[in-house]
Symmetry: none
Subunit: 192 residues, 4 copies
Amino acid sequence: MAAGGARSGAGRKRDPEAHRAVLAAAEELLNEIGYHRVTMDRIAERSGVAKMTLYRWWPNKAAVITDAVRESLAPVAVPGTGDAVGDARAHLAALLGTLTRYGDASVVAGAMSSRGEAGRADLRDILAPWLDGLVAILGRAPLPPEFPVVLTAQSWIGYVVYRVVFLQEVITPDDLRILVDLPVQGLREPAF
Amino acid sequence: MAAGGARSGAGRKRDPEAHRAVLAAAEELLNEIGYHRVTMDRIAERSGVAKMTLYRWWPNKAAVITDAVRESLAPVAVPGTGDAVGDARAHLAALLGTLTRYGDASVVAGAMSSRGEAGRADLRDILAPWLDGLVAILGRAPLPPEFPVVLTAQSWIGYVVYRVVFLQEVITPDDLRILVDLPVQGLREPAF
Amino acid sequence: MAAGGARSGAGRKRDPEAHRAVLAAAEELLNEIGYHRVTMDRIAERSGVAKMTLYRWWPNKAAVITDAVRESLAPVAVPGTGDAVGDARAHLAALLGTLTRYGDASVVAGAMSSRGEAGRADLRDILAPWLDGLVAILGRAPLPPEFPVVLTAQSWIGYVVYRVVFLQEVITPDDLRILVDLPVQGLREPAF
Amino acid sequence: MAAGGARSGAGRKRDPEAHRAVLAAAEELLNEIGYHRVTMDRIAERSGVAKMTLYRWWPNKAAVITDAVRESLAPVAVPGTGDAVGDARAHLAALLGTLTRYGDASVVAGAMSSRGEAGRADLRDILAPWLDGLVAILGRAPLPPEFPVVLTAQSWIGYVVYRVVFLQEVITPDDLRILVDLPVQGLREPAF
DNA sequence: GGATAATCGAGACGGTACGTCCGGTCTTCCG
DNA sequence: CGGAAGACCGGACGTACCGTCTCGATTATCC
């Protein structure tokens, strides 16, 4: 227009409450009815946020769920008792608990992946702290410098992901004990 | 009323060509446009088979895709050179090739899981030969009897699945070498 | 596909009951809640027909309503008592009744027009029988051959449409009597 | 809406330029993309006026368009040559030009009607000067006192509205000549 | 060979969710 | 303190896909 007027910088601010309500509703619904029955309409209804607003901030359903899951996960706390083997076991047990928090973790993971590189980045972001934690634990252990710390941690996480997320099998504490001992035992108790 | 008439056994026979055409079309489409853009209608159109016929033989889309994937995978050939470590590496490399055959393996896996227990059984069926192969290879190695053969094989497969399917990372031959050496090295070169 | 199979001409037949139910539901809703509150979803729900089926047979809401209106209108019966003036009056009164059948005829007409040429063709189709009727009535009257029969009929219909549809005014029987007498009176009672 | 106004004393004065810009933008858009594709957002964007400001002055979209149309229409000038028949023809020709100014006049009319009584009042306001003009012209003609002046004028306007707005037909000068002669000819040339 | 059955291609159908669009209201900040 | 900027709710839109359901035509088997 011609006369007077405000420049940019104006405009209503994004409602943080709406953002929070959406993620909360999404997470509740995920728990209650499972991924494939969660609907954008249902999220909108439950959160009291208009569907249009959902799509203003998230490109699609998978993105909302991803965000909700990430938000809902407790921050990863790395145990530090000094006993590397025990810490690793505890950390993996915690990861296991996280991965079984939602019934159909593999469906959720598939949904994330379906968003392409962005989705996989989300997946990496979610799993990265766990890897870092294991690496830190192993870093505190008296291992030879050439020990493949990262790869070991990856194989542990892989074991858990593979059995629990992919195959929905049950991992026992014993399994974790043996798993952690596997690469380290050669170092601790050299032979049989 | 009971005596007369033709009894069962009559009727047109199932067309085996239709079955083959469906799986071929499904696999092509999976390669070309990715899981979530494959539709039953598209499979029907491409294969020249009526949609109704699809549903006569498969309960749903995920089942068709699962079958198509299973069919398309080369039969698992377990190497048997006698060198357990080399065989394990070769076998894992082959698995790696299989898992990267379809761009979005994790989406497919998620889709399978979304079918519930039946889908996970399919997933297990597909992965079981690989596990069995590794177990067989390890069984031929000079390992102490209490060595956790199955768990070791699972951690290997887990490592590959986790990095390649979940995170879409690249696994190098070196990675595989280190991975396989990890649990075994303590046995071969007892101490430092 | 390869072997066996049916040729074209097959396929489930269009369900005539669905077609009928849609138009009935649309007409009911039009009467009950008015054009702009009629919704494709509501039509679908009321008729028990899937929304997708609506869009298979009609391009949009306006087309459905147009069809419903056309269907609901009683066939135009041209009176033929021999008294041209009386017949014309009766015919116009009937038209008037038709046009006030739906509260907001001009909204409906606007909706039809919004479909472009196709919609205007529908409008013409609906009004054409009324014009033809008046022309036929005038054709039976003892008028000089150069009398502008069609134009007269159009001016009569125009009068009714303009006042009743556009302005939502009330037309009295007296109005109609005077209207019809207007162009004819010069012929019947030559001068004043 | 027309005048509206700034209140007493304090505060910034209402910007008349904004008012003008809105109506100009609305009218341009109406010409360019047609009624149903004109949106309040587009009017706001084109005019540089905030949407909120639109709704401060006009109750809804139809009102803005109505105002824009009314503003854009040239003031009705009633011809007064003394020749009633010629004047009537000229006046109707001018009306015809006005009604065809916007492609989809019936859509606009429908939109106005959709506002209920208020909208129809707008419609009447727009058309009233034309009716008054014709009545004035007929009032200057040497007609018998009982001649239905208003009804005649209405039938003329109705003829034009019906054919041009409703059916989007073309009206020729000849049509108008015959139309006007119709009710009057009986008076001028009593019989055949 | 004729009746009986099962299969197939074609495609309409009910249902459900998607992602978009727009009308109209409300909030924030700038000049 | 008026107004531009723009987020927000509500609700309809038109599309896509799933899995079911007729059709009519096409084989096979059995009597």
